[in-house]
C-alpha cells in the first residue's frame, strides 16, 4: 500500500445514490448542476440518458442509479448532475443528491470487501468512515473508462 496517491490526504465529494453514500475524488469534479432535458442517443444503453450542451461542449450524461439498480430513478428539480473531468473527457453523472466535501486520511480508508456494495470492487478505492457513516469511495476514472460503461470507443 505505498501508491503515492494515498500519501496525500484526499478530499472527497460525497453524494447519495439510492440509500448508499458514495464519494469521489474532488479533483475530478468540474461542477455540479441541475438535471436538464437531455438529447437522447439511439441504441445506447439505458443508463446513458443522452447528451447535453454544457456551454458549447457536448457532454454525455450517465445515470448510475440505472446502471447499478439503486432505487427507482426519478428526475425532479432536486436531481443533480455531477460534471466530471476524467481522462480528458467531460462526463456528467446523475445522482440523488450531493451531500458534502470530506477529507479522509489514508488510515480512515479500508479496502473494500467483496459484496460490499452494488458496485464491483474493481471500481472502488475503498471504504471510508465519516462520523460513523460508511462512505463508498468510487474509482471514477476506472469505472467510466471501463468497457461495460460503453462511454468511449473501444478502439480508441
Amino acid at each position: 500500500m505505498d501508491t503515492s496517491e494515498r500519501i496525500i490526504p484526499h478530499e472527497y465529494l460525497t453524494f447519495t445514490l439510492g440509500n448508499e453514500e458514495y464519494g469521489i475524488d474532488i479533483l475530478k469534479v468540474q461542477e455540479i448542476r441541475g438535471y436538464d432535458a437531455v438529447t437522447r442517443i439511439a441504441n445506447a444503453p439505458e443508463f446513458l440518458k443522452g447528451v447535453i450542451n454544457l456551454r458549447g461542449v457536448i457532454v454525455p450524461i450517465v445515470d448510475m442509479r440505472i446502471r447499478f439498480n439503486l432505487g427507482t430513478p426519478h428526475y425532479d428539480e432536486f436531481t443533480v448532475v455531477i460534471i466530471m473531468n476524467v481522462l480528458n473527457r467531460v462526463i456528467g453523472m446523475v445522482v440523488d443528491g450531493v451531500s458534502d466535501v470530506v477529507a479522509l486520511e489514508p488510515e480512515q480508508i479500508r479496502p473494500a470487501p467483496e459484496l460490499g456494495s452494488a458496485l464491483d470492487t474493481r471500481y472502488l478505492t475503498g471504504l471510508g468512515t465519516v462520523n460513523g457513516q460508511m462512505l463508498i469511495l468510487m474509482d471514477i476514472e476506472k469505472l467510466l473508462s471501463s468497457d461495460e460503461m460503453q462511454l468511449m470507443d473501444s478502439a480508441a
Binding site: V38, T39, R40, A42, I52, N53, I58, P60
Partner: protein, 682 residues
Amino acid sequence: MTTPDHHNTSIDLDRFNAVFFEECAEHLADMEHILVALDPAHPDGEELNALFRAAHSIKGGAGIFGFRDLTVVTHELESLLDKVRGNELGLTATMIDLFLEARDAIAMQLAGHRDGAAVDQGVIEDICRRLRDQIETNAAAAEASTSSHVPSAEPMTGFRRLEIVFSPDNDIFQRGVRLENLFNELAQLGDLSVKAEIPEAPPFEAFDPEVCHARWIFALDTAAADEEIWDIFEFVAEREQLTIITRDEQATAAPSPAREDIPAPASTPAEAAIAPMGRRAYDRDETAPGAFGRRGGEAESSIRVGVTKVDQLINQVGELVITQSMLSQMAAVLDPVLFENIHRGLLQLERNTRDLQQSVMSIRLVPISIVFSRFPRLVRDLAAKLGKQVDLKTVGEATELDKGLIEKVADPLTHLVRNCLDHGLESPEARMAAGKDPVGTITLRASQVGGRIVIDVMDDGAGLSREKILRKAAERGIPASDAMTDEEVWQLIFAPGFSTAETVTDISGRGVGMDVVLRNVQALSGRVQVSSEPGAGTRVTISLPLTLAILDGLSVAVGGEKFIIPLNAIIESLQPKPEEIKSVNGRTVVHVRGEYLPLLPLHQLFNLETAVTRAEEGIVVLVDVEGEKAALLVDALLDEHQVVIKSLEANYRKVEGTAGATILGDGRVALILDVHALLRMR
C-alpha cells in the same frame, strides 16, 4: 533522477525546439521543391542560392539548439552546394539525386529528434562520405578542365578589372538615393562584388540613421569604358566622390553575354570567392528583394499561430453564433412595433456574427499547394523506379481548403497519384506504339465549385478496361454483370479487395487501394467519381466540403427530438399520399415520380416514440447520396440553419447514423444525420 542535462530547462526549450523543427520542415520542403524542379544543364543561380540558404539555415539552427548531428550532413551538403553555386563545380543529375538523399537523411534525423523515430547512422555516414566524394572527384575534374580551358580562352580586348571607390555625401540617404538601383546598373556592366566600409564611425550618441558614414568599394570585371560608369553615378555623386582604378587588364576568362544562364567555369577558386556571380553577389543577402525566405511582403505580415488557438477561436465564435440565434429566438415573440430597436439591433448582431464567423473560418483555410508540392518528388522517384516517363502538372494550387481536410486528403491523393503511375500510364514503348507521346502526363487540378472543393487526378494513360474489371470482379466474387453501364463498372474498382494490376507491385496493387481512398474521402463527407476513356486516360474526381466545421442543414422533428439533415443530401421533401406508399417484399417504399424509394422511418432507426408512424401522416425527405436515394420519414420539418459541427467523440463515442452533433438556438443538442450511414443501417 537521471534526466539528461538539457531536460532541466526543457519546458522552455521544448517550445523553441518546436519552432525550430517546424522551420526545418519548411526548409526541407523548400529544398525538395527546388531540387525536383532543378535542371542540371541550366541551373538557376537564384535557386542554387535558395538551396544553400535552406541548408545553411538548418545548420545554423541545429547548432544553436544543440542538435549537433544535424549539422554534420548539412555541413557537407552546404560545402558541395557552395562549390556548385560558385560555379566551381558543374551541377550533375547525380548531384541532384545525392542532394535529395541528403535531404531525406536530414529529414530522418529531424524526425529522430522530434518524434523519437529511429535514425540509421549508416545512411548518414554514407551520405556524408558521398557528398565529400563529389567535391573531391569533381574538384579534380574541374581543375583539369579549367587549366586547359583558361589559356585557350580568347582574351577579350578592353576587358579589365576595376576598383571603384564611392564615398558619397553624408546626406545621400536624405536625398532619397536608392543605392540598390546603382548596384543593379553597375552589375549589368559585368561581374560585380560590393563591399561597404565605415572609415570613421561617429560616437554612439551622435549616431543618426539618416546620415551616411559608409563608403562602398566595387570590384567590377567589365569591358565598359570609364564614361559608362560615370554615367551611372551621374546624379548621385560628384566627380571627386568617385575613384576608378584599373586593377588588372584581362582579369578573367571572357564572360559571355549570356553569363547568367550558363555557369562559366571560374578560373581559380580564390578568384571565384571575390567575384563569384555577377550581380547576384549581393543578392545572396537574405534581405534582398525576392530572395528565398522572403516571398514578397508576405513573410513580414504573417504570424505563426498554433492550430489549437485557431480552433479555440472557432469554437468561441461558434458559441457566439449559438447565443446570437438564442437571442433572436427569444426576441421573436416580442412585438415588432414596440421593440423595433431590439429587433434592429439583433439583425445587426446576426450580420456581424456571420461575418465574424466567416473571417475566423478563413484562418483555417490553407492553399492546397501544401499537398500538391509533395507530388513532384513522389512522381519523380516512382517514375524512375517503374521506368516510365512522366510529366506532372498541377493546376489551381492556390485553391484553399480547411487545414484539417488538407491533412486528411493527402493520403488518398497519394494513393491516386501512385495508381496513375503504376496502373494508369503505360510504359514509354507502349505509348509510342499507341502513337502517343512517350512522356505521360499526370494532372492534379483543384478548384472550388460552389461550396465544395473539387480535386481531379487525371492521367493520359490507357484508361480503365471494362473487360478486365468485369473479369476481375467475377474472379473476386464481386457481384457484376455485362449489362452494367460503364459508370457502374468503374465503381467496381472501389470494392474492397479489388486490384487489376497484372502483377502486384510494392507501389500499389495490394488491393487495398481504391476502397481505402473511397472510405477516407467519405469520412471527410466527400465523394469520389471515376471517368475513363479507353486509350485516352482516367480521371478520378474527389469532391470535398469547404470546411468540416460548419454545415447547412435542415432541422426535422422526430418524436420530441430534433435532427439535422445535411442540405446537400436533400433532393426534396413532400407529404406522400396513401396510394404512393407501397410494400415490396415486406419493406415499405415510396413511389415518387416513377421511382420507388425505400422508406426509412427515423423513429425506428433511432428508437423513438412518436405519434407519426405511417408515412402518409408525416413528411418524407428524399435524400440522395452518391446516386443512392431513399425517403426519410420524419414528423415535421422545422427550419433551415447553418450549424456548427461538434464532435460527439470528444466526450462520448461515435453514434451510428450520425456525423456529429450541434447545438440549436434553444441550447439543446441535436444530432446531425449521416445520410450515407443511415442507408447502411436499415
